[in-house]
Symmetry: D3
Subunit: 339 residues, 6 copies
């Protein structure tokens, strides 16, 4: 067996540590000197040699690895080290991969390095899954959809929103969800374009649909996710996101934008309705069900984009873990066919 | 049998017609000259003697009566009269009560009076159920609750809302719902006080509750109903109310008020959550379920006030219609005991 | 008032009666001599002048009109006439439109014509809603989709099915449902193309989808409707359709076709699964939920096509009946916005 | 690190061991000589040094701690010791606290003391959470409510029940539930008073409510819990409680009491209905939903008291375990906000 | 057309009127002098000739017929006649059958006879559907099942219940439900025997079942229906039945019987559980689901007996009304095949 | 303590290893040389002495035991051994039973035997639970039911199916389900007979039922399970079974058999409906609910047989694991009483 040594290279010029190998690529026996984010802290224990602690580490691969630090007898020192680490901290750690109960574990003995990095010392992209398509290209496509809207005030509203530099920068990188679907850099943008693509097809099938209202609804339907999700070293729900949700956060945002541009009440009501109803049913979080055709389209377009993406990802991930024909999907409570 | 003649008295001094007898008080054989609002229009028909039309009339008693106008052979004249009437019009009509299939019917032969009144010619109070308690007294109680809030910015926010003259005038008279509960002048105000009363009792039982957040939540929980319901000659859902609902309309309103007074994010999040979650479950229209104790209190307090009021009204109304022990409640899909 | 006389023109050359005006176009006072199909028979009654009977008539407009035949005192004759008429009979009737309780009614006095037509004396197209797009054009599009499939045996299977002349003739004209959506000549074909269009868009969004399986599934997903629905003078559910449903009828059909061409078990299993799961959830009639991405696509594509078509039709129909902003949709148990 | 030694003091005068420190207060390194109750037995195993066994211990704090006894090579002796212990036994044990996988563990080596105590050797109060309010004061309040009932036979019935010395003694100490809410000495009593307090407030809001029926219903609504729950060294469901439930057990009890005092059938029916319907919905265990206003009040009052107590306790407990903003509540399947 | 005259024959010897023809046998043109029970009263109206009133009449056939009494101008006299009639009154009426809107109607002109009969003037059997099997034979079968129980105290309990003469007399005649299934004289007894027959078959399939507990549970499972349903001239729910239900009424009864014979707690708990759980699920009214095999058997045996009886009756009744293949079953919300 | 040595005896004559003791009979300290099937593979780990792997083993007792193989330092050799083993392999292993965390564990040190057996080297009956009744006797009973059918073509159909030697051989041994009920050799056959027994009893209770259709439906209702489940060394769902289910697989099979014998459409439709509806409700996997009495019988008969068998087995199994009164049944989400 050949031990491969994995080294975290400090890029002097950029002042940054770069991620070397993904968690999903680590193998038994590997020596590790790499950067991770801290998902959970699991407490300090005593053992015969002194005091140890455990962490769960992760990175953009979405896979976790347990980390065990075997410190010495100086309890205060080990505790201080442990206390310096917070959930979502980015840490540089050295150690070695072993397997325990069939799962890999990264372990290290004092005085191996466990070091919390400051913002700027690492690249965010190492900790959130990378975009599947180029975000700038996608944003151009989105702006083309904005430009195609003919209703004057709706167009002003949409341009005001999507030409805003700060919002654009955020929208380009934002994920579409925490774990379920489009949970990568640019995921929200890609999801929005997919929803638009089903709207376009619907327009070909049903030419009497109101294109402008439908497109505006599709473009803005998940805008509240900018406030609902926060991307630090990983994607997390914000407090306000958990307490009120992106439907209401988005409604407040869009309602105010409508008032700013003086949008007609009739169109404003429809636009807000699309936001409020785009989860389709109360049990999925929509206080109102879709009440007109364009809202029906956005609801199903959203489902199609999200559900297909989710199942495709689930199949891809599961194939790495099993050679069985099926994998059980807990939240769906059903088996998914893998081949 | 003695026919009682019911006359609409034109109060010259005030320039107003006053309602004489409620629909619920009309009896077979009564002659009628009174004012009603038009609930439904039911079309023009031809009959042997010419052209007739039908309306359904109602008033603050909440009871309906069918109205049949037997016009002459001049179709254009009858149609013109019919077309001058709109749903929610207030009309003065003359006619006589008969019974048809066990239901009362008001009928009139041309040239009996059917006259659409203009705003100002009648008193709104005749067409929405009257307040059960004095609205000014109740509003004083509400302001006392506002004044009892200690958190400085919450207090400023609440005072800003409830001392606003226009809003106060509207809030005093607004009903709590279209038909289900507290559907009378001042119903929203009375319901809000009842919710507050259960919050107060909860505070005695559970002194660790955050009084200020809970009271602010209770005071504002149904504020969106000011936009969701409109009171013309009867209580109706507004278009925006139907499309987005009072939870979202209220959230937009309160969110902006929070920003105006610079409320701390933590408190704002809680306040909005109480609004968003006060229906308790997604299937009742809340995109989020109550997530902290004060939100739990407001949810159940809202239920207690609404459900008890509804069942009490249902019992009272049903007793007028039957001597049976039970009356079937359609929306609840269960029998209610009447005695 | 001007009475317009509507005459059923007997096209001698073709030996056919042609429909003159749709039920939806009839107005009070119109004289009528036209053909309809019989939706319900409502029994014979006696009246002062003798014996009368009632029918409910309809045509391709989907609207109903009550028909009242005032026969003479010869009970046996009136009964004989009544007994000659069956539900789904095509009848030629003469009469006049009046309105009763705000609804139109067609009435006739003996000896007005009430005549049951034989097949061949009328054109089916008068009794089922006409195609919205040219059925031959659409079928060409469908065959193009068949031709685009690359998997050899799947292609043979699909060509075997869709090049079959008898099936093709039936498929071109078949409706997609009885009343809910695509309930017109060619509705099934148009619906199938719409489902395919959403599959195509999904393929652009998610290029790893298995195009051939997805297209074959989309093409065949509703094939069981050919047995589930029968088109006589109106669309009806067949007995076998009611007892087993198009999912199972289609599965039996496709299973046998797979065996004929010797399709690999893996692909056959997937194809049958798409049929069986395309209603998405058990409560919508699918014994299995979609278990792989292509089945997920077909499910949502089917929903999108069906639901948008249904709501658009509902809006269009409702606008003819009301000027209100909303119309209550019973099966959905919610209001639909009309403008 | 300073090891604190915790000693179980045998109070000679009273012949009782007293609890020294709660499980929730134990810390790594503590020496322990204290009394606990046995929640689970987990079996005997062999290890290199002989035979060991494990127990889960608990006390009134509601927290558990795993206990590991490392016995010697005499298997029969270790087994005999293990077999002398039953679930719900009160044991005195000596040992020391260590941490294992981030959880505390209490372990002891033979010949440390593991001794089963007999009833009388310990104080029950050490093993059920203590009352939050003085039970005698609360019972006086309850009797005041009984005394306020005016309906003669209802009053006799209630006095007969609550003045019964045996029942009073039991009712004073009984908990309101096993784990969910009011699970402490006097919890049932405190819960009953809370329900009464919401009834009183309801009476102020809705003066037409029948005070006597409502109060009697509130006082007796959970009386079946006296049979449904048993308090030994911990709160447990009884066999009859699990098989029939407190609604039915209470109904049998109250039905017989009604017959004893000769209560009018009308009032008896209402009283039983309040018991039977006080869970509000079939899915919560009520075979009948509340059918009159007083039953509606008792249902929601019960919910308010129980749910607020539960969430408040959950927040308090969770704060001890995490510094996160939210804690997931499994049975509710939602996050609860902690700050 | 030949008018058949139907005469109510007063049996002088017995002092009773006997029912002549069932409602279901009446045909247009029939003259009627027969006895019915009054299902609904529908109010007094004025018409050109004076005052009329309407009733809905019924009998053991379960079919209804509307009755219209055209009285003279003496309002007080007509009202007095109307007021002498109560729901559930047995009336002798004279009149003639006509058809109105396709439904039969029985009408009479003053001074035709409308006479309320006193108990004793008619035979109950004319107003509740007759037994399908001989009730005495069936009761012998039931007593044989009682005798077969071996557990001494259970046997004493069952004998005490079923040998009680008063109870036996009632049990023999009692129906199994108001309308849904076994709604005929002796229906409860027949249903109980059917449940027993499935228990017997289960015992053959699963010989380890506890025969005595299962049989006792089956024999007593619906005993509460003796109190829940009352048979006057028709089957009605009692007030206590509606408010508490036969599960709880039966539990109270059986619980007391258990105590009388000193049944062991273990067996009593099981017996009560079978009663309480025999509707299988909370949503069907059982506060507990079946928790042991014998309770599972009784639940499904009850379902089998009830559901098959209901569907068979539905098919039989529907065939009289339609020649269609299917009839829609409202409560089941599905079509039932009729042939 | 006496160590019992358990030896796998190689039956030379038959060339087979025979199972010695069931997993459920193994006790701590036992030496083991026996055959098992492999349920799960749990990976290779390194430990101080080299490389180890874990398996979960099982047999016809349905109980599992963890197996730990402590190999030497030659990683390649241990991996090769591990890789030679597949889920469902039958293995002969030597080792010794110890207990770990209260659970038994079978462990072995290199060079203990771990040997994968080929088909023919073991007897299937050792790995699937044995029949509870003699399968040949049961099949005779089934053929008697076939012979009792009078409808000529149905009889031909049933004889064609059940006299087929290959099918008969399979049907005799097939289990009724994977784990839930009748999961033993001949379970499907025994279940089918139980369903027939409830049909027979139903016929006595309701003589108008169509015996032939009901019996044919009962005999064929689970025929699709022959394709849905596969029995190797254990019972597994097949891929096609998971993707389409036995309702649809059975429908395809029966539909073709109907066509072969030329069964009347009316009877075929009914037969297929019984298959399709025999799970009773969509949420249990039936796309159609039972629509005629015979289908209702088969549905409830299937439930009775399955549910009683399941609960009886659950009680029997649970008694081996606990002395508590109750055991929690996860899938049912309720407690089951054990005594």
């Amino acid at each position: 067996m050949i031990f491969r040594r994995v080294i975290a290279v400090f890029l002097l010029a950029m002042g940054k540590f770069v991620k070397n190998r993904k968690v999903s690529e680590l193998r038994e026996g590997d020596g590790v000197d790499d950067i991770f984010f801290v998902k959970f802290k699991k407490g300090v224990s005593s053992y015969v040699g002194g005091f140890s602690f455990e962490l769960t580490l992760s990175d953009a691969s979405g896979k976790n690895i347990d980390y065990k630090y075997w410190g010495g007898k100086d309890e205060i020192k080990v505790k201080a080290l442990y206390d310096s680490i917070y959930p979502d901290s980015i840490v540089r750690v050295q150690g070695k991969i072993s397997s325990y109960k069939g799962r890999f574990q990264l372990s290290a003995n004092e005085p191996a390095v466990v070091e919390v990095l400051r913002e700027g010392q690492y690249d965010d992209a190492d900790f959130v899954k990378p975009a599947k398509r180029d975000v700038d290209t996608m944003y151009v496509e989105l702006l083309r959809a904005v430009a195609s809207v003919k209703h004057p005030k709706l167009k002003v509203l949409l341009e005001g929103v999507f030409n805003d530099k700060e919002l654009a920068a955020k929208f380009k990188k934002h994920p579409g969800a925490i774990t379920i679907h489009h949970n990568w850099t640019g995921g929200l943008l890609q999801h929005t374009l997919e929803v638009l693509s089903y709207c376009a097809t619907s327009l070909e099938n049903f030419p009497t649909l109101d294109r402008d209202v439908m497109y505006a609804g599709a473009l803005l339907h998940d805008i509240g996710k900018l406030d609902e999700l926060a991307v630090t070293s990983r994607i997390k729900g914000t407090k306000k996101g958990q307490l009120t949700g992106h439907l209401v956060l988005g409604s407040v945002f869009v309602s105010n934008k409508c008032d700013e541009v003086g949008l007609e009440e009739t169109v404003k009501d429809k636009l807000l309705h699309i936001l409020v109803s785009h989860h389709g049913k109360p049990e999925f979080g929509s206080p109102k069900e879709p009440m007109f055709p364009e809202a029906v389209v956005v609801y199903y377009a959203d489902e199609l984009s999200a559900k297909v993406a989710e199942v495709l990802d689930f199949v891809e991930d599961s194939k790495l873990e099993t050679e069985d024909d099926f994998m059980y999907h807990k939240r769906y409570a059903k088996n998914i066919l893998l081949k």
